[in-house]
Amino acid sequence: MAQYMFSFLTTSLFMGLIILAIVTLSVLLPKVFSPKLRYAAWVVILIGLIIPFRPMFGNGLITFDMPYATTAESERQANKVGNITTEPPIIGDVGQSITIYEPAVQSMWQTLSTIHILVIAWAAVALAILTYHVWRYIGFKKLIRRWGVAVKDEDTLSVLQTIQSEKGIANKKIELKKCDFVSTSMIVGFLNPIILLPDKMFDADELELIFRHELIHYKRGDLFIKLLSVIAVSLNWFNPAVYLMSAAIGADCEASCDEAVIADVGGENKQFYAEIVMDMIGSKRAGGTALSTCFYGSKNGIKKRMEAIMNASVGVKKVAFSALAVLALMIIFTGSIFAFGSQTPSELPSQEPQYPVFQPPLDNSQQQGTEQITSQRAREIAAQFVGYGTVHDIRAFTEDGILNFEVEIRQGAVRYVVQINGVNGNVINLSSYTDDTGAEQTISETNNTEPTPQTTPDPTPPQAPVSSQGNRPANPVISLDRAIEIAYADIAARGINATFRTDSGMSWERGQWVWELEFRTHGERMPIIEFYINVDNGNIVKFEWDD
């Protein structure tokens, strides 16, 4: 989730910069960037804003380590203070009898609730904005249905029909209505377009230009582009640049439409057309709202539009498709320019810990540098190593910040426990047990050596344990209290905050007498850590997450 959010934010930021660049360029070099070119550019940008996810090519030119750098950093800070809340491994059932323990992404767990709140807040505002626009649109449509008067005048309708034929949409049903309450002509309706005329008298020449203007909007699908613009603003409401874009799209849409009308009717009609547009400006009483100084859509804006109409060249400039292609490519490759967050903690720049810090490995999919093997791969390695048998259990455990796997394989009464290094896939340790005795034998200990697969099952019960069990030591070298101290020290060194819960006394495990201790962590799901501590030398025989 954090990744998606971050990706969305970087895209929005990048698009914001492009928007500012285009607005700046069109102000500085109005001749180079014609309204038509700008309008086409806005369409590309709108698509880029609405589809925020980009393919990733390579590793990115600029690398942000934000998601982990910040969270992992704060985590380390928290470790120092010693009040970290450690989250448990995710436990999921795979298959029937196999439980796979996958490690959680700790930094994500920790920040999850904050991210959730942010995402919900973002979605709520986006939905509210979208609803507002749709609500308003429905309200306006209702007004038209109630108060719009269908135009029945044959002359007017024949002008519309003529222009429709000229535009190749002769058979499209386009309603024409007169509305007292609008001051400008307009086109409404996505599927069944309605042209609205204000309650003014227009002669046939004026009507022709008005219909041309509105039908060009219809043919270009400008209403749909406006819809895209509303969606883009709703989704990126936190980005100030989109509001500028929205205003610019409106202005450039009209300007390019004006341009197309002039191209249709010839330059000698510019003045006439400009006057018609001016007739559409509503009049208000003096001293109204003082909001008429914005860049677009004010007196300043209409002057600019008039000037553009008067300066329109009859031969429409060829749209610079190459410029648009460059823009589209730029947007598509945003994902590659801003790569982020895919490093593993070991790749993080800050290497300050003097003591081993417990770092739950990241989710497999996010491991790129150290190529964490999957639990599936661990099963395969274990099965291959042992030869044959049924995989009964697989669990993940961490050692020195590396995720390792322990795979339990049964061959009849014999149980093999294979420990596999989670990074290089080497078999660290292989133990075998028989169910009736509980005796254990370490068969081999390998590291970077070719495993010697046992292709045939041992028909006889395993040999006697290497070290004899003997009697429970009455006065162990390491007392229970001392064992708890050792465990606490280990927990602290790993940066975990956990409390001693219970001990199961002394037991014979892995060929030695150990203290069996349980610690409860204070994470959300409160997993338990199990310790085996050798009663003779105080070595930690086992450190394991359990739920």
């Binding site: 749709v134 308003r136 649109y137 001051s183 307009m186 409404v188 559409m280 009049s283």
Partner: protein, 125 residues
């Protein structure tokens, strides 16, 4: 009418009939005008007319067996109320983002318009 409430479509339909005829209009006439377009019982129509009286849209008086209705608010008055309310609710004259208007800027004052027209004439030379 500070607390303007948009008329629901049913009541608006009745008002439209009354507006279209020379007042006063009788109940019989209204029901006749409604014809088969709607499937309302006379009782329903009467209830709606009473509601319109309560809302201050109509006045009525009994003449013989018939009841006559006279509009208090004219059609154009109501229209400017309803449309004005819509425009006011959404501020400015911007009609909405999902509509393509030929001019989508703010309204200008008469002086500003005159000035603009003069400026345009000068441009033409």
């Amino acid at each position: 009418m500070a607390d303007f409430k948009r008329l629901p479509d049913t009541e608006f339909e009745l008002m439209r009939i009354i507006w279209q005829h020379k007042p006063p209009v009788t109940t019989a006439r209204i029901i006749q005008e409604l014809g088969d377009s709607v499937n309302w019982k006379p009782q329903t129509v009467l209830t709606m007319l009473v509601r319109l009286i309560e809302k201050g849209f109509l006045s009525s008086e009994r003449v013989g067996k018939e009841r006559n209705y006279t509009p208090i608010i004219s059609e154009s008055e109501y229209m400017s109320l309803e449309t004005g309310e819509f425009m006011f609710r959404y501020r400015g004259n911007s009609i909405g983002s999902l509509v393509k208007t030929m001019y989508d800027g703010k309204d200008l004052t008469e002086e500003e318009l005159t000035e603009l027209k003069k400026w345009l004439k000068e441009k033409e030379g």
